[in-house]
């Protein structure tokens, strides 16, 4: 392996403002055999993961990107003067997972699954650019069709829809859930 290839890749990830994909790295380093580039990237990920540093490289939104480590969140927020990042409400989260798992989906289908009118929630999600309208369904009334966005993936640190919680993970939670029967706090 060419010495320094690892560091070249690190510098690429550093200057890239968006998560940089493996393809992009290979394209940039086209004068090196792809297998070596891949190996160097793996090495780099391992070194940064084990190093005691304030930053790390994560894979998110289909590429690699530098982030701060979670334990330093309080200081970063203090520096940026951000008290806390706002989280999604449970109604938003519910609607968003329905879209994620059932897309393409219409508003009335979402509302039927939740048994709750979801027009307001979907509007919020549209504004946050976590879902998008991709067309109209060829059915009575030609309702709009919704899908999740790239931003949705990045928001949850996913690289593709395949990384959504699987049936098995869900079954596991449901199995555990049966033993828990605490009332939600008032």
């Amino acid at each position: 392996m060419i010495p320094g290839l690892k560091n070249i890749i690190e510098s690429l990830i550093f200057v890239s403002l968006e998560p940089i994909s493996l393809e992009k790295i290979k394209e940039t380093l086209s004068d090196h055999p792809p297998a070596e580039v891949e190996q160097a990237l793996q090495d780099l990920l391992q070194t940064t993961a084990s190093a005691e540093r304030g930053i790390a490289i994560i894979q998110s939104g289909g590429g690699y990107v530098f982030t701060t480590r979670p334990e330093f969140d309080p200081w970063v927020r203090r520096f940026l003067k951000i008290d806390r990042k706002s989280k999604l409400t449970s109604a938003s989260l519910e609607t968003l997972s329905i879209v994620a798992y059932h897309q393409p989906i219409t508003l009335s289908e979402i509302s039927a699954l939740r048994n709750v009118d979801s027009s307001y929630t979907i509007k919020t999600l549209l504004e946050k650019k976590l879902v998008k309208i991709t067309g109209r369904k060829k059915s009575p009334g030609n309702p709009l069709i919704y899908r999740t966005t790239e931003r949705f993936l990045a928001y949850f640190g996913l690289n593709s829809l395949e990384e959504l919680p699987t049936e098995e993970e869900i079954a596991k939670i449901l199995g555990e859930d049966k033993t828990v029967e605490q009332a939600p706090k008032p």
Binding site: L17, E18, I58, S60, V65, F66, T67, T68, R69, P70, D73, V76, L80, K81, I82, D83, K85, S86, K87, L88, S90, A91, L93, E94, L96, S97, I98, A100, Y101, L113, R114, N115, V116, D117, K128, Y155, F156, G157, L158, L164, P165, E169, I170, I173, L174, D177, K178, V180, E181, A183, P184, K185, P186
Partner: protein, 243 residues
């Protein structure tokens, strides 16, 4: 009394009727595929009964579910000439809904953890993050916001009442180049300020059109930190990278 603990739980904590039903099913340790409708209906109505006033806006859905439960119960009570076939259980529809909803809820809890994790990771961003109290992010402005700003400025310019007639012609193309040049040098442009710098009304109008063209061509990004504040213009990073 067995249901006394339920007094402490208010309807507001449930996102919808399915949420409440699932809670009751879990509390009573009921098999979701074989729900004793009489029991669950009683429990469910109990909950609704504890609300002092039914707020129709929010609780219509809860009431609708109550009606559905009672309907299912009545169907089960009615004598039939022939016993029901396997797939004809009146509870079937509700059970299917509950099972699906339960899965969604479980997925939500996993996603919630992921959200939590992600929120503590910070990446470098093109736009410096702004300390903001609400949920609102930077608003990428719509055409209407721009148009509104434009009309405000037009009014101001009009008031200045230009008399000088100059022979100079302004082209949108040139203006676009000029705006891009400013952006490349200064990386960010205050649109209001830029607009005010224009010498004549004509030039100002042309500069506005140029901005619209640039946005349309996705070469720049127009962002408002808060509504009715100034509009800031950035070069889009993809286009920057290309050069």
């Amino acid at each position: 009394m067995e249901t006394s603990e339920s007094y402490q739980v208010r309807l507001e904590v449930f996102e919808g009727p399915l949420d409440l039903l699932l809670f009751l099913i879990r509390k009573k340790k009921i098999d979701i595929h074989n729900i004793p409708i009489a029991v669950i209906t009683r429990e469910y109505l109990d909950y609704l009964g504890h609300e002092e006033q039914i707020n129709l806006d929010r609780e219509a859905e809860f009431v609708l579910m109550a009606a559905l439960l009672i309907h299912i119960k009545s169907q089960l009570l009615l004598p039939r000439e022939e016993p029901l076939a396997e797939g004809e259980d009146p509870r079937r529809f509700l059970v299917d809904q509950l099972v699906e909803f339960q899965k969604i809820k479980a997925a939500c809890s996993i996603l919630k953890e992921r959200e939590e994790e992600q929120l503590s990771l910070w990446t470098r961003e093109v736009l410096p993050p702004l300390p903001e109290p609400g949920e609102a992010d930077l608003v990428e402005v719509s055409l209407f916001d721009l148009a509104e700003t434009f009309f405000v400025l037009m009014k101001r310019k009009e008031a200045e009442n230009f008399r000088v007639v100059r022979g100079k012609n302004y082209s949108v193309e040139e203006k676009m180049k000029e705006i891009v040049a400013v952006l490349e040098k200064e990386s960010v442009l205050d649109f209001l300020e830029y607009f005010n710098r224009q010498e004549t009304l004509e030039e100002a109008v042309v500069s506005f059109f140029s901005l619209l063209e640039l946005i349309k061509a996705r070469l720049v990004m127009a962002v408002q930190e808060r509504l009715f504040q100034t509009i800031k213009v950035w070069l889009r990073r993809e286009s920057k990278a290309r050069q």
